[in-house]
């Protein structure tokens, strides 16, 4: 009986319940982060670990890492430019009109999210293969265009392929976010607008978009994370080998190359830290600028 009382005591219970989280946080988050920070200052080879100070960070001042940074940033900017407006408009459209038809469209748009990037990337690579018999080149020839070596083309071509893949895969998820945001907007506002004689575009600009602000901020934030952490897409598109002229090299791609392909774990750790700092700075300042913390307080 005594044991039961102790466990049930108000003082201990909360700790028992949060223990699983604390434990997993300490083991799987805090320990790796600290260990990565330490490894960033070391040269780590099997059985030989030497402290080398800031050398890893100094080595990052090279053209390749700059290419990786530019690629990641460009990719993030483009995905933001595409993955916010398109899902927003689609979700507004899906939120109106026939319910059954819309549920069908919603499912169709969501399906790509369930497919693994590896599978999608491989299929994409085969669609855009260099041979004249690949699907895209067959269509190009049928339309009277020149067949192309898609994956070996310049940086623009590569970026377009990556964006097509991102668009195909992530539009569905963002639609779901926006839809849930839309459903929280009370119908009365639209009815009032109708009585006042507002046009559909006025309703979109004056009611829908302002009231979706917090959803938009959330979607933008996760898109920034996703964009800067992009790796699988380019890894699979160029089947694990280096992409021509590093057109598909991203920050995480460079980390992978250094750490797992060249065995430079110390340098890979320093890249990880740089990425962490970048993502942290961008998202915090972004949230600050848009007053995300403030609105939370007021409510």
């Amino acid at each position: 009986m005594k044991l039961k009382q102790t466990i049930g005591a108000a003082k201990i219970t909360p700790y028992v319940f949060i223990f699983p989280f604390i434990a997993s946080f300490l083991i799987f988050y805090l320990y790796p982060i600290i260990s990565t920070i330490i490894m960033g200052f070391q040269q780590v080879y099997p059985g030989q670990v030497t402290f080398i100070g800031l050398e890893n960070y100094q080595k990052l001042n090279n053209p390749e890492f700059k290419v990786a940074l530019t690629n990641s940033f460009r990719y993030t900017m483009y995905t933001l430019a595409l993955l916010i407006p398109i899902p927003l408009l689609l979700s507004v459209w899906l939120n109106s009109g026939n319910k059954t038809v819309n549920t069908l469209y919603r499912s169709i748009l969501y399906v790509p999210t369930l497919i693994s990037v590896v599978v999608a990337g491989t299929i994409m690579r085969l669609l855009f293969a260099s041979s004249n018999k690949s699907i895209v080149n067959t269509i190009a020839i049928a339309l009277g265009a020149e067949p192309r070596q898609w994956l070996l083309g310049g940086p623009h071509q590569a970026m377009i392929l990556l964006l097509i893949l991102a668009l195909w895969r992530w539009v569905g998820v963002n639609i779901i976010y926006f839809l849930s945001g839309l459903q929280a907007i009370p119908d009365e506002l639209y009815e009032a607008a109708d009585i006042d004689g507002a046009s559909p575009s006025q309703k979109l600009w004056r009611i829908t978009i302002p009231l979706l602000k917090s959803t938009t901020i959330f979607v933008t934030t996760i898109s920034i994370f996703g964009g800067l952490a992009m790796f699988e897409e380019s890894y699979i598109l160029w089947s694990g080998t280096a992409s021509p002229n590093n057109v598909g090299l991203t920050i995480v791609g460079y980390l992978y190359k250094k750490g797992f392909q060249e065995g430079e774990m110390g340098m890979a750790s320093s890249i990880g830290i740089v990425l962490l700092v970048i993502v942290f700075t961008i998202s915090i300042s972004y949230l600050k600028i848009f007053g995300f913390f403030k609105t939370e307080d007021k409510r």
Binding site: G47, S131, L152
Partner: protein, 428 residues
């Protein structure tokens, strides 16, 4: 009470399941010891499977249960590097490609030195091929082949253009012949790798140059290499050569392109022979293997390169057994003969080169037009330049594949000299 009992039973079950899954299977000694093996080439796997069978027949008291696994090229090397670093999860025996090998010689080497099994027959090996998988006098890997570079001609196309491949002596002749082929058949003379090193490396090695020098310094941007890349660019610009579909000679698209008679020739190390027989069956009887053209009238005609070292990891269950089996497979006379017969590689033990079995009919002699492939090889035996494998090599190869060739040949955004200089700086 009942609940508590049920709970205990459940917990025991869960723990039981976890440990059962984690436990190592213990093979009964009667069946032999398990020997796991990773490779990135399924042809290598079939070779080892055959040798394992032979080993079990000859050593009934030391039988092995051979467990091979084929993984994609990059994935396999990555997985191996990580599992060696972590100290667990690596196979007993593994194929490591030459361009990746120096990565595994960093720090405390996690591979087992093979000196004691090699020493008895060391003098029968082409020793340069052992040195490439070594560090500080320790040999960590056994080679598959010498890897002499040769040129593969599609005689059907050459005949249509009226070219006799035996008349092509130098690279200048090659260019001229290529122009005629292009004009008469509309087909390119050659394909060039634009995201691979196999078109460029044999050409510079043939001229006595290399990617890194004997001391390990990066010499990618030396005068000879610049001239060679300029030659390649000229081949492409004049339409004599095209960029290999898919970018390199191992792309799926490339096999299809060549199989349909896409180009009149291509040069690769000899180990490429089995890619023709296995992936381009329609060219059977149309391909002639010759030494590469020379750069100067008295220049050399080949260079030994590429390769895969098979090593034993320090995580092997039975290190001695793994070493002995590896030596039996790749180091014995019989093994070297099978390397030729099944894989079509030029075996690294020179004492089998004049064995009558080297001239016996096999799938390679049937596929290729040559009367004696090995006779051709013996003829250039003293003209096979070797290459340096040093710590910087993976970095140099990586830059060649990712930027130098693309910039200079495919997109032509930089001149050969600029592209090479930039690549060399990045690798240094």
């Amino acid at each position: 009470m009942k609940r508590l009992l049920l709970f205990l039973v459940l917990i025991t079950c869960v723990f039981g399941m976890v440990f059962a899954a984690g436990g190592k299977e213990q093979a009964a000694p009667a069946d032999g010891t398990e020997l796991s093996f990773w490779t990135f080439q399924d042809l290598h796997m079939s070779f080892y499977e055959k040798m394992a069978k032979m080993w079990n027949e000859e050593n009934p008291d030391r039988k092995i249960i051979f467990k091979p696994e084929v993984l994609p090229f990059e994935d396999m090397h990555t997985k191996l590097l990580v599992s060696l670093q972590a100290g667990t999860g690596a196979p007993d025996m593994v194929d490591i490609e030459i361009g990746k090998y120096p990565n595994f010689l960093k720090g405390n080497v996690q591979l087992i030195p093979l000196n004691d099994v090699i020493d008895p027959v060391r003098d029968k090996f082409v020793t340069a091929r052992l040195d490439i998988y070594s560090k500080d006098g320790q040999n960590y890997g056994l080679p598959f082949h010498v890897g002499a570079s040769v040129i593969f001609y599609n005689t059907e196309i050459l005949d249509a253009a009226g070219i006799d491949p035996y008349d092509i002596k130098t690279w200048d002749d090659y260019m001229e012949a290529g122009k005629i082929v292009k004009q008469k058949t509309g087909k390119p003379m050659a394909t060039v790798e634009v995201n691979g090193q196999w078109s460029f490396w044999p050409m510079i090695a043939e001229r006595g140059s290399d990617l890194v020098d004997a001391d390990g310094n990066v010499i990618l941007d030396n005068e000879t290499n610049i001239k060679t890349l300029e030659y390649l660019k000229e081949l492409l610009d004049s339409g004599v050569a095209v960029a290999a579909p898919g970018g390199n000679h191992h792309a799926e698209e490339y096999y299809g392109f060549m199989n349909d008679g896409g180009a009149a020739s291509m040069w690769m190390p000899m180990w490429y022979m089995n890619r023709f027989t296995d992936y381009m069956p329609d060219l059977s009887g149309k391909i002639l293997i010759l030494p590469m053209p020379r750069w100067t009238p008295d220049g050399k005609r080949s260079a030994g390169m590429g390769g895969t070292g098979t090593s034993v990891t320090n995580q092997a269950r039975d290190v001695e057994l793994a070493k002995d089996f590896l030596m039996f497979a790749k180091g014995s006379e019989e093994g070297n003969l099978v390397i030729w017969e099944d894989l079509g590689f030029d075996p690294p033990r020179w004492d089998v080169w004049d064995n009558p079995r080297m001239n016996a009919s096999n799938k390679f002699t049937e596929y290729y037009q040559n009367d004696s492939i090995f006779g051709m090889l013996l003829e250039i035996k003293d003209e096979i330049n070797s290459v340096n494998v040093k710590e910087k090599l993976p970095a140099v190869i990586d830059r060649i594949n990712s930027s130098v060739m693309i910039q200079a040949l495919q997109q032509q955004t930089k001149s050969p000299a600029e592209a090479l200089r930039e690549g060399a700086d990045l690798a240094r």
